[in-house]
Symmetry: C2
Subunit: 241 residues, 2 copies
DNA sequence: TTCGGGTAAATGTGATCACAAATTGAGGTG
DNA sequence: CACCTCAATTTGTGATCACATTTACCCGAA
Protein backbone atom coordinates (compact mmCIF):
# COMPACT_ATOMS: atom_id res chain seq x y z
CA UNK A 1 0.00 0.00 0.00
CA UNK A 2 2.19 2.82 -1.25
CA UNK A 3 1.51 6.26 0.14
CA UNK A 4 -0.22 8.76 -2.08
CA UNK A 5 2.30 9.16 -4.80
CA UNK A 6 2.64 12.92 -4.61
CA UNK A 7 5.52 13.84 -2.36
CA UNK A 8 3.87 17.17 -1.74
CA UNK A 9 0.91 15.67 -0.04
CA UNK A 10 2.00 17.01 3.33
CA UNK A 11 3.15 20.36 2.06
CA UNK A 12 0.09 22.51 2.39
CA UNK A 13 -0.21 25.19 -0.19
CA UNK A 14 -0.24 28.13 2.19
CA UNK A 15 3.08 29.91 2.18
CA UNK A 16 2.34 31.53 5.52
CA UNK A 17 3.93 28.69 7.44
CA UNK A 18 7.64 29.42 7.78
CA UNK A 19 8.66 25.79 8.03
CA UNK A 20 6.22 23.55 6.18
CA UNK A 21 8.94 20.88 6.28
CA UNK A 22 8.42 18.31 3.66
CA UNK A 23 10.43 15.10 3.33
CA UNK A 24 8.95 11.78 4.26
CA UNK A 25 12.18 10.80 5.94
CA UNK A 26 11.89 13.50 8.59
CA UNK A 27 8.31 12.53 9.25
CA UNK A 28 9.34 8.93 9.75
CA UNK A 29 12.15 9.95 12.05
CA UNK A 30 9.87 12.14 14.14
CA UNK A 31 7.39 9.32 14.32
CA UNK A 32 10.04 6.93 15.53
CA UNK A 33 11.32 9.44 18.07
CA UNK A 34 7.86 9.92 19.43
CA UNK A 35 7.38 6.19 19.63
CA UNK A 36 10.63 5.77 21.50
CA UNK A 37 9.92 8.62 23.91
CA UNK A 38 6.41 7.47 24.69
CA UNK A 39 7.57 3.95 25.27
CA UNK A 40 5.76 2.24 22.42
CA UNK A 41 8.93 0.36 21.60
CA UNK A 42 9.93 -2.41 23.96
CA UNK A 43 13.65 -2.85 24.76
CA UNK A 44 15.04 -5.96 23.17
CA UNK A 45 12.20 -6.11 20.70
CA UNK A 46 13.40 -6.10 17.15
CA UNK A 47 11.93 -4.01 14.39
CA UNK A 48 12.24 -4.40 10.67
CA UNK A 49 12.65 -1.89 7.89
CA UNK A 50 9.83 -3.29 5.85
CA UNK A 51 7.64 -3.64 8.90
CA UNK A 52 8.00 -0.02 9.92
CA UNK A 53 7.62 1.05 6.33
CA UNK A 54 4.32 -0.73 5.92
CA UNK A 55 3.14 0.50 9.30
CA UNK A 56 3.83 4.08 8.31
CA UNK A 57 2.63 3.65 4.76
CA UNK A 58 5.89 4.54 3.10
CA UNK A 59 8.58 2.69 1.23
CA UNK A 60 11.47 1.14 3.14
CA UNK A 61 13.82 3.79 1.87
CA UNK A 62 13.00 6.73 4.15
CA UNK A 63 12.74 4.33 7.07
CA UNK A 64 16.22 3.10 6.36
CA UNK A 65 17.67 6.56 6.70
CA UNK A 66 15.61 7.44 9.76
CA UNK A 67 16.68 4.25 11.50
CA UNK A 68 20.27 4.96 10.60
CA UNK A 69 19.98 8.44 12.07
CA UNK A 70 18.46 7.15 15.30
CA UNK A 71 21.00 4.39 15.63
CA UNK A 72 23.76 6.96 15.28
CA UNK A 73 22.59 8.34 18.62
CA UNK A 74 22.25 4.93 20.21
CA UNK A 75 18.49 5.26 20.18
CA UNK A 76 18.31 2.11 18.11
CA UNK A 77 20.80 -0.70 17.88
CA UNK A 78 22.05 -2.40 14.77
CA UNK A 79 23.38 -5.80 15.68
CA UNK A 80 26.22 -7.53 13.93
CA UNK A 81 23.82 -9.48 11.75
CA UNK A 82 22.24 -6.22 10.65
CA UNK A 83 19.05 -6.76 12.57
CA UNK A 84 17.55 -3.67 14.16
CA UNK A 85 16.34 -3.70 17.71
CA UNK A 86 15.59 -1.21 20.43
CA UNK A 87 18.55 -1.42 22.80
CA UNK A 88 18.38 -3.42 25.97
CA UNK A 89 19.36 -1.79 29.23
CA UNK A 90 22.17 -2.84 31.48
CA UNK A 91 22.84 -1.52 34.99
CA UNK A 92 26.06 0.02 33.77
CA UNK A 93 24.46 1.74 30.84
CA UNK A 94 21.64 3.09 32.93
CA UNK A 95 24.08 4.44 35.46
CA UNK A 96 26.02 6.17 32.72
CA UNK A 97 22.91 7.71 31.25
CA UNK A 98 21.82 9.11 34.58
CA UNK A 99 25.31 10.41 35.24
CA UNK A 100 25.28 12.16 31.91
CA UNK A 101 21.82 13.57 32.56
CA UNK A 102 22.98 14.89 35.91
CA UNK A 103 25.92 16.55 34.23
CA UNK A 104 24.02 18.18 31.39
CA UNK A 105 20.41 18.85 32.26
CA UNK A 106 20.81 20.96 35.42
CA UNK A 107 23.30 23.12 33.58
CA UNK A 108 20.97 23.43 30.61
CA UNK A 109 18.10 24.41 32.92
CA UNK A 110 20.34 26.97 34.56
CA UNK A 111 21.00 28.62 31.22
CA UNK A 112 17.36 28.37 30.25
CA UNK A 113 16.19 30.11 33.40
CA UNK A 114 17.27 33.48 32.05
CA UNK A 115 14.90 33.11 29.09
CA UNK A 116 11.90 31.83 31.00
CA UNK A 117 9.12 34.08 32.17
CA UNK A 118 5.85 33.89 34.00
CA UNK A 119 4.04 32.81 30.86
CA UNK A 120 6.32 29.81 30.76
CA UNK A 121 5.53 29.12 34.40
CA UNK A 122 1.83 28.91 33.65
CA UNK A 123 2.48 26.78 30.58
CA UNK A 124 4.61 24.45 32.66
CA UNK A 125 1.87 24.26 35.28
CA UNK A 126 -0.62 23.18 32.63
CA UNK A 127 1.75 20.48 31.45
CA UNK A 128 2.44 19.39 35.01
CA UNK A 129 -1.28 19.09 35.63
CA UNK A 130 -1.49 16.59 32.84
CA UNK A 131 1.58 14.84 34.26
CA UNK A 132 -0.09 14.48 37.66
CA UNK A 133 -3.32 13.38 36.04
CA UNK A 134 -1.61 10.63 34.07
CA UNK A 135 0.40 9.65 37.13
CA UNK A 136 -2.68 9.06 39.28
CA UNK A 137 -4.46 7.50 36.35
CA UNK A 138 -1.60 5.12 35.76
CA UNK A 139 -1.37 6.09 32.10
CA UNK A 140 2.34 5.52 31.64
CA UNK A 141 2.43 6.46 27.98
CA UNK A 142 0.81 9.84 28.49
CA UNK A 143 2.97 10.41 31.54
CA UNK A 144 6.12 9.89 29.55
CA UNK A 145 4.99 12.18 26.78
CA UNK A 146 3.99 14.97 29.15
CA UNK A 147 7.04 14.57 31.35
CA UNK A 148 9.16 14.94 28.24
CA UNK A 149 7.17 18.02 27.26
CA UNK A 150 7.76 19.50 30.71
CA UNK A 151 11.50 19.09 30.72
CA UNK A 152 12.04 20.14 27.16
CA UNK A 153 9.84 23.19 27.43
CA UNK A 154 12.46 24.34 29.91
CA UNK A 155 15.49 23.15 27.99
CA UNK A 156 14.31 24.57 24.71
CA UNK A 157 14.36 28.03 26.22
CA UNK A 158 18.13 27.80 26.59
CA UNK A 159 18.34 28.06 22.83
CA UNK A 160 21.23 25.64 22.77
CA UNK A 161 21.86 23.87 19.51
CA UNK A 162 24.55 21.72 21.08
CA UNK A 163 23.42 20.62 24.52
CA UNK A 164 19.83 20.03 23.47
CA UNK A 165 20.60 17.27 20.96
CA UNK A 166 22.85 15.59 23.50
CA UNK A 167 20.13 15.58 26.12
CA UNK A 168 17.59 14.44 23.57
CA UNK A 169 19.87 11.56 22.71
CA UNK A 170 19.96 10.53 26.35
CA UNK A 171 16.19 10.61 26.66
CA UNK A 172 15.79 8.51 23.56
CA UNK A 173 18.10 5.96 25.12
CA UNK A 174 16.46 5.54 28.48
CA UNK A 175 12.84 6.21 27.60
CA UNK A 176 11.98 2.74 26.32
CA UNK A 177 13.44 1.18 29.44
CA UNK A 178 11.62 3.56 31.76
CA UNK A 179 8.39 2.56 30.12
CA UNK A 180 8.95 -1.02 31.19
CA UNK A 181 9.81 0.11 34.70
CA UNK A 182 6.59 2.08 35.00
CA UNK A 183 4.70 -0.86 33.69
CA UNK A 184 6.07 -2.98 36.49
CA UNK A 185 6.24 -0.75 39.56
CA UNK A 186 3.54 1.69 38.49
CA UNK A 187 3.83 5.43 38.27
CA UNK A 188 2.19 6.28 41.58
CA UNK A 189 5.41 6.13 43.57
CA UNK A 190 6.91 8.96 41.54
CA UNK A 191 7.26 12.30 43.23
CA UNK A 192 8.94 14.50 40.72
CA UNK A 193 10.17 17.94 41.67
CA UNK A 194 8.18 19.76 39.02
CA UNK A 195 6.47 22.02 41.52
CA UNK A 196 9.77 23.35 42.76
CA UNK A 197 10.92 23.83 39.20
CA UNK A 198 7.80 25.84 38.36
CA UNK A 199 8.26 27.98 41.45
CA UNK A 200 11.87 28.61 40.48
CA UNK A 201 10.84 29.62 36.97
CA UNK A 202 8.21 31.99 38.30
CA UNK A 203 10.66 33.67 40.67
CA UNK A 204 13.42 33.62 38.05
CA UNK A 205 15.65 31.65 40.37
CA UNK A 206 18.17 30.04 38.04
CA UNK A 207 20.01 28.22 40.77
CA UNK A 208 16.75 26.95 42.21
CA UNK A 209 15.68 25.65 38.82
CA UNK A 210 18.97 23.88 38.37
CA UNK A 211 18.63 22.22 41.75
CA UNK A 212 15.03 21.24 41.10
CA UNK A 213 15.98 19.52 37.85
CA UNK A 214 18.89 17.77 39.54
CA UNK A 215 16.55 16.59 42.29
CA UNK A 216 14.06 15.36 39.70
CA UNK A 217 16.72 13.28 37.99
CA UNK A 218 17.98 11.92 41.28
CA UNK A 219 14.43 10.97 42.14
CA UNK A 220 14.29 8.87 39.01
CA UNK A 221 17.56 7.27 40.00
CA UNK A 222 16.15 6.25 43.35
CA UNK A 223 13.08 4.75 41.76
CA UNK A 224 15.37 2.63 39.66
CA UNK A 225 17.51 1.67 42.62
CA UNK A 226 14.45 0.50 44.46
CA UNK A 227 13.43 -1.74 41.60
CA UNK A 228 17.03 -2.51 40.76
CA UNK A 229 17.94 -5.55 38.85
CA UNK A 230 14.51 -6.50 37.64
CA UNK A 231 14.15 -6.07 33.95
CA UNK A 232 17.77 -5.27 33.57
CA UNK A 233 19.56 -7.78 31.46
CA UNK A 234 22.83 -8.41 33.18
CA UNK A 235 25.88 -7.65 31.12
CA UNK A 236 26.69 -11.17 30.12
CA UNK A 237 30.08 -12.08 28.68
CA UNK A 238 28.61 -13.55 25.56
CA UNK A 239 29.86 -12.80 22.05
CA UNK A 240 29.63 -9.05 21.52
CA UNK A 241 27.14 -7.69 19.01
CA UNK B 1 33.52 3.96 -11.80
CA UNK B 2 31.60 1.49 -9.71
CA UNK B 3 33.54 -0.31 -7.02
CA UNK B 4 34.46 -3.92 -7.59
CA UNK B 5 31.06 -5.49 -7.67
CA UNK B 6 31.62 -8.03 -4.94
CA UNK B 7 30.51 -6.66 -1.59
CA UNK B 8 32.92 -9.00 0.06
CA UNK B 9 35.96 -7.43 -1.48
CA UNK B 10 37.04 -5.91 1.84
CA UNK B 11 36.13 -8.93 3.94
CA UNK B 12 39.29 -10.94 3.90
CA UNK B 13 38.77 -14.63 4.16
CA UNK B 14 40.79 -15.17 7.32
CA UNK B 15 38.54 -15.60 10.31
CA UNK B 16 41.36 -14.73 12.68
CA UNK B 17 40.49 -11.04 12.64
CA UNK B 18 37.96 -10.38 15.39
CA UNK B 19 36.39 -7.40 13.64
CA UNK B 20 36.63 -7.79 9.88
CA UNK B 21 33.98 -5.05 9.63
CA UNK B 22 31.80 -5.56 6.70
CA UNK B 23 29.33 -3.03 5.29
CA UNK B 24 30.39 -0.35 2.88
CA UNK B 25 28.22 2.11 4.75
CA UNK B 26 30.28 1.85 7.93
CA UNK B 27 33.47 2.28 5.98
CA UNK B 28 32.10 5.41 4.39
CA UNK B 29 30.99 6.75 7.74
CA UNK B 30 34.37 6.07 9.31
CA UNK B 31 36.02 7.74 6.37
CA UNK B 32 33.86 10.81 6.77
CA UNK B 33 34.45 10.91 10.52
CA UNK B 34 38.19 10.75 9.96
CA UNK B 35 37.94 13.51 7.40
CA UNK B 36 35.97 15.68 9.77
CA UNK B 37 38.31 15.05 12.70
CA UNK B 38 41.45 15.70 10.75
CA UNK B 39 40.04 18.86 9.30
CA UNK B 40 39.91 17.85 5.68
CA UNK B 41 36.42 19.33 5.46
CA UNK B 42 36.16 23.09 5.50
CA UNK B 43 33.27 24.68 7.44
CA UNK B 44 30.70 26.17 5.11
CA UNK B 45 31.97 24.08 2.23
CA UNK B 46 29.25 21.99 0.73
CA UNK B 47 29.59 18.35 -0.19
CA UNK B 48 27.45 16.24 -2.49
CA UNK B 49 26.27 12.69 -2.25
CA UNK B 50 27.45 11.79 -5.70
CA UNK B 51 30.71 13.61 -5.20
CA UNK B 52 31.60 11.72 -2.04
CA UNK B 53 30.41 8.51 -3.62
CA UNK B 54 32.70 8.85 -6.59
CA UNK B 55 35.56 9.97 -4.36
CA UNK B 56 35.19 6.86 -2.25
CA UNK B 57 34.44 4.58 -5.17
CA UNK B 58 31.00 3.51 -4.01
CA UNK B 59 27.47 4.19 -5.06
CA UNK B 60 25.61 7.16 -3.58
CA UNK B 61 23.48 4.86 -1.47
CA UNK B 62 25.84 4.06 1.42
CA UNK B 63 27.00 7.67 1.40
CA UNK B 64 23.44 8.80 1.82
CA UNK B 65 23.04 6.80 5.00
CA UNK B 66 26.43 7.76 6.37
CA UNK B 67 25.73 11.43 5.80
CA UNK B 68 22.38 11.00 7.44
CA UNK B 69 24.00 9.42 10.47
CA UNK B 70 26.56 12.18 10.77
CA UNK B 71 24.01 14.91 10.34
CA UNK B 72 21.99 13.37 13.15
CA UNK B 73 24.85 14.30 15.44
CA UNK B 74 25.23 17.78 13.96
CA UNK B 75 28.51 16.75 12.39
CA UNK B 76 27.06 17.66 9.02
CA UNK B 77 24.28 20.04 8.21
CA UNK B 78 21.41 19.49 5.85
CA UNK B 79 20.04 22.80 4.74
CA UNK B 80 16.44 23.51 3.92
CA UNK B 81 17.07 22.99 0.25
CA UNK B 82 18.53 19.59 1.01
CA UNK B 83 22.08 20.57 0.27
CA UNK B 84 24.71 19.10 2.54
CA UNK B 85 27.45 21.20 4.03
CA UNK B 86 29.86 21.04 6.91
CA UNK B 87 28.42 23.34 9.56
CA UNK B 88 29.69 26.85 10.02
CA UNK B 89 30.72 27.98 13.46
CA UNK B 90 29.18 30.78 15.44
CA UNK B 91 30.54 32.27 18.67
CA UNK B 92 27.53 31.00 20.52
CA UNK B 93 27.81 27.49 19.17
CA UNK B 94 31.51 27.32 19.91
CA UNK B 95 30.89 28.48 23.45
CA UNK B 96 28.26 25.80 23.92
CA UNK B 97 30.52 23.09 22.59
CA UNK B 98 33.32 24.05 24.94
CA UNK B 99 30.91 24.23 27.84
CA UNK B 100 29.69 20.75 27.04
CA UNK B 101 33.24 19.46 26.67
CA UNK B 102 34.11 20.93 30.05
CA UNK B 103 31.12 19.19 31.56
CA UNK B 104 31.71 15.77 30.06
CA UNK B 105 35.35 15.13 29.29
CA UNK B 106 36.93 15.74 32.70
CA UNK B 107 34.37 13.45 34.24
CA UNK B 108 35.00 10.83 31.58
CA UNK B 109 38.73 11.06 32.20
CA UNK B 110 38.12 10.71 35.92
CA UNK B 111 36.29 7.45 35.35
CA UNK B 112 38.88 6.27 32.87
CA UNK B 113 41.74 6.82 35.30
CA UNK B 114 40.83 3.71 37.24
CA UNK B 115 41.36 1.59 34.14
CA UNK B 116 44.59 3.16 32.97
CA UNK B 117 48.00 1.73 33.81
CA UNK B 118 51.63 2.41 33.17
CA UNK B 119 51.45 0.78 29.76
CA UNK B 120 48.85 3.37 28.81
CA UNK B 121 51.14 6.09 30.11
CA UNK B 122 53.90 5.01 27.76
CA UNK B 123 51.43 4.70 24.89
CA UNK B 124 50.18 8.19 25.62
CA UNK B 125 53.72 9.49 25.70
CA UNK B 126 54.35 8.05 22.25
CA UNK B 127 51.23 9.72 20.94
CA UNK B 128 52.14 12.97 22.63
CA UNK B 129 55.57 12.86 21.01
CA UNK B 130 53.88 12.81 17.65
CA UNK B 131 51.62 15.62 18.80
CA UNK B 132 54.60 17.77 19.72
CA UNK B 133 56.37 16.88 16.53
CA UNK B 134 53.42 17.92 14.39
CA UNK B 135 53.01 21.05 16.51
CA UNK B 136 56.52 22.26 15.90
CA UNK B 137 56.33 21.13 12.31
CA UNK B 138 53.14 23.05 11.77
CA UNK B 139 51.35 20.01 10.39
CA UNK B 140 47.86 20.85 11.54
CA UNK B 141 46.23 17.79 10.05
CA UNK B 142 48.52 15.34 11.80
CA UNK B 143 48.25 17.33 14.99
CA UNK B 144 44.49 17.06 15.00
CA UNK B 145 44.59 13.35 14.34
CA UNK B 146 47.13 12.67 17.08
CA UNK B 147 45.49 15.01 19.55
CA UNK B 148 42.26 13.12 19.00
CA UNK B 149 44.10 9.85 19.49
CA UNK B 150 45.56 11.14 22.74
CA UNK B 151 42.28 12.19 24.28
CA UNK B 152 40.32 9.19 23.14
CA UNK B 153 42.94 6.73 24.23
CA UNK B 154 42.11 8.01 27.70
CA UNK B 155 38.37 8.25 27.25
CA UNK B 156 38.08 4.82 25.69
CA UNK B 157 39.45 3.28 28.88
CA UNK B 158 36.36 4.44 30.74
CA UNK B 159 34.42 1.86 28.78
CA UNK B 160 31.45 4.15 28.57
CA UNK B 161 28.98 3.43 25.81
CA UNK B 162 27.02 6.55 26.61
CA UNK B 163 29.42 9.38 27.35
CA UNK B 164 31.86 8.42 24.62
CA UNK B 165 29.46 8.93 21.73
CA UNK B 166 28.41 12.26 23.19
CA UNK B 167 32.00 13.44 23.41
CA UNK B 168 32.71 12.11 19.96
CA UNK B 169 29.79 14.09 18.66
CA UNK B 170 31.26 17.24 20.16
CA UNK B 171 34.64 16.64 18.59
CA UNK B 172 33.07 16.07 15.21
CA UNK B 173 31.35 19.40 15.56
CA UNK B 174 34.28 21.60 16.46
CA UNK B 175 37.09 19.81 14.67
CA UNK B 176 36.53 21.32 11.23
CA UNK B 177 36.47 24.78 12.73
CA UNK B 178 39.61 24.19 14.78
CA UNK B 179 41.37 23.23 11.61
CA UNK B 180 40.71 26.65 10.15
CA UNK B 181 41.89 28.29 13.36
CA UNK B 182 45.17 26.40 13.30
CA UNK B 183 45.57 27.29 9.69
CA UNK B 184 45.32 30.96 10.59
CA UNK B 185 47.11 31.37 13.90
CA UNK B 186 49.37 28.36 13.59
CA UNK B 187 49.79 25.57 16.05
CA UNK B 188 52.93 26.78 17.74
CA UNK B 189 51.10 28.82 20.36
CA UNK B 190 49.41 25.74 21.74
CA UNK B 191 50.59 24.48 25.06
CA UNK B 192 48.37 21.58 25.87
CA UNK B 193 48.46 19.92 29.26
CA UNK B 194 49.24 16.48 27.97
CA UNK B 195 52.36 16.13 30.09
CA UNK B 196 50.39 16.63 33.27
CA UNK B 197 47.80 14.16 32.05
CA UNK B 198 50.44 11.53 31.39
CA UNK B 199 51.96 12.08 34.81
CA UNK B 200 48.53 11.70 36.38
CA UNK B 201 47.93 8.47 34.50
CA UNK B 202 51.29 7.09 35.57
CA UNK B 203 50.69 7.89 39.22
CA UNK B 204 47.05 6.77 38.98
CA UNK B 205 45.85 10.17 40.12
CA UNK B 206 42.26 10.31 38.91
CA UNK B 207 41.65 13.82 40.19
CA UNK B 208 44.85 15.02 38.63
CA UNK B 209 43.89 13.54 35.28
CA UNK B 210 40.50 15.21 35.45
CA UNK B 211 42.09 18.56 36.17
CA UNK B 212 44.65 18.13 33.42
CA UNK B 213 41.94 17.44 30.86
CA UNK B 214 39.92 20.40 32.09
CA UNK B 215 43.00 22.59 31.80
CA UNK B 216 43.65 21.30 28.30
CA UNK B 217 40.15 22.23 27.20
CA UNK B 218 40.38 25.64 28.83
CA UNK B 219 43.64 26.16 27.01
CA UNK B 220 41.83 25.62 23.76
CA UNK B 221 39.20 28.10 24.84
CA UNK B 222 41.82 30.74 25.47
CA UNK B 223 43.37 30.19 22.09
CA UNK B 224 39.99 30.82 20.56
CA UNK B 225 39.40 33.87 22.70
CA UNK B 226 42.68 35.34 21.56
CA UNK B 227 41.75 34.89 17.94
CA UNK B 228 38.12 35.62 18.65
CA UNK B 229 35.81 36.74 15.96
CA UNK B 230 38.05 35.96 13.01
CA UNK B 231 36.70 33.10 11.00
CA UNK B 232 33.52 33.03 12.95
CA UNK B 233 30.57 33.90 10.87
CA UNK B 234 28.44 36.15 12.99
CA UNK B 235 24.98 34.86 13.67
CA UNK B 236 23.21 36.95 11.15
CA UNK B 237 19.44 37.36 11.23
CA UNK B 238 19.00 36.13 7.71
CA UNK B 239 16.44 33.54 6.68
CA UNK B 240 17.03 30.47 8.81
CA UNK B 241 18.18 27.27 7.19
C1' DT C 1 30.17 46.09 -19.24
C1' DT C 2 26.19 44.64 -16.78
C1' DC C 3 22.02 42.61 -15.96
C1' DG C 4 18.24 39.14 -17.16
C1' DG C 5 16.49 35.07 -18.98
C1' DG C 6 16.37 30.54 -20.24
C1' DT C 7 18.30 26.15 -20.96
C1' DA C 8 21.22 22.41 -19.32
C1' DA C 9 23.45 20.08 -15.63
C1' DA C 10 23.50 18.60 -10.99
C1' DT C 11 21.44 17.31 -6.60
C1' DG C 12 18.53 15.13 -2.97
C1' DT C 13 14.60 12.04 -2.57
C1' DG C 14 11.88 8.12 -2.99
C1' DA C 15 10.81 3.70 -5.30
C1' DT C 16 12.04 -0.65 -7.05
C1' DC C 17 15.10 -4.50 -8.11
C1' DA C 18 18.72 -8.01 -7.19
C1' DC C 19 21.31 -10.52 -4.01
C1' DA C 20 23.46 -12.72 0.00
C1' DA C 21 22.89 -13.82 4.65
C1' DA C 22 20.11 -15.06 8.31
C1' DT C 23 16.00 -16.64 10.35
C1' DT C 24 12.20 -19.60 10.48
C1' DG C 25 9.53 -23.50 9.93
C1' DA C 26 8.37 -27.99 8.59
C1' DG C 27 9.57 -32.61 7.88
C1' DG C 28 12.25 -36.48 8.65
C1' DT C 29 15.44 -39.35 11.39
C1' DG C 30 17.64 -41.01 15.58
C1' DC D 1 10.29 -36.87 22.06
C1' DA D 2 14.51 -34.55 20.89
C1' DC D 3 17.56 -33.16 17.36
C1' DC D 4 19.11 -32.37 12.92
C1' DT D 5 18.52 -30.98 7.90
C1' DC D 6 17.12 -28.36 4.34
C1' DA D 7 14.11 -25.44 1.79
C1' DA D 8 11.30 -21.16 1.83
C1' DT D 9 10.75 -16.83 3.64
C1' DT D 10 12.35 -12.66 5.59
C1' DT D 11 15.67 -9.05 6.12
C1' DG D 12 19.37 -5.66 5.39
C1' DT D 13 22.34 -3.86 1.69
C1' DG D 14 23.66 -1.85 -2.42
C1' DA D 15 22.60 -0.38 -7.17
C1' DT D 16 19.88 1.89 -10.46
C1' DC D 17 16.02 4.60 -12.14
C1' DA D 18 12.67 8.52 -12.23
C1' DC D 19 11.52 12.98 -10.87
C1' DA D 20 11.04 17.63 -8.88
C1' DT D 21 13.83 21.21 -7.44
C1' DT D 22 17.64 23.86 -7.44
C1' DT D 23 21.93 25.59 -9.10
C1' DA D 24 25.12 26.82 -12.69
C1' DC D 25 26.22 28.61 -17.01
C1' DC D 26 25.93 30.82 -21.31
C1' DC D 27 24.00 33.89 -24.52
C1' DG D 28 21.76 38.09 -25.77
C1' DA D 29 19.79 42.69 -24.88
C1' DA D 30 20.19 47.24 -22.80
Amino acid sequence: MPVSSSRHAAASADAAAPAPRRSVRDEVEQSLRAGLLSGRFVPGHSVTLRGLAQELGVSPMPVREAVRALSAGNALEIRSNGRIQVPTMTPQRLSEILTARLLLEPELAFVAAAHLGSSDATALRKIDDRVDESLSGGDAETYMRENFAFHFHIYRAAGSQVLMPLVESLWLQFAPFMRTVYGRVGTAALDDHHKEAIAAVRSRDAGGLRDAIAADIRCGMELLDRSSGEGLREAQPGPPD
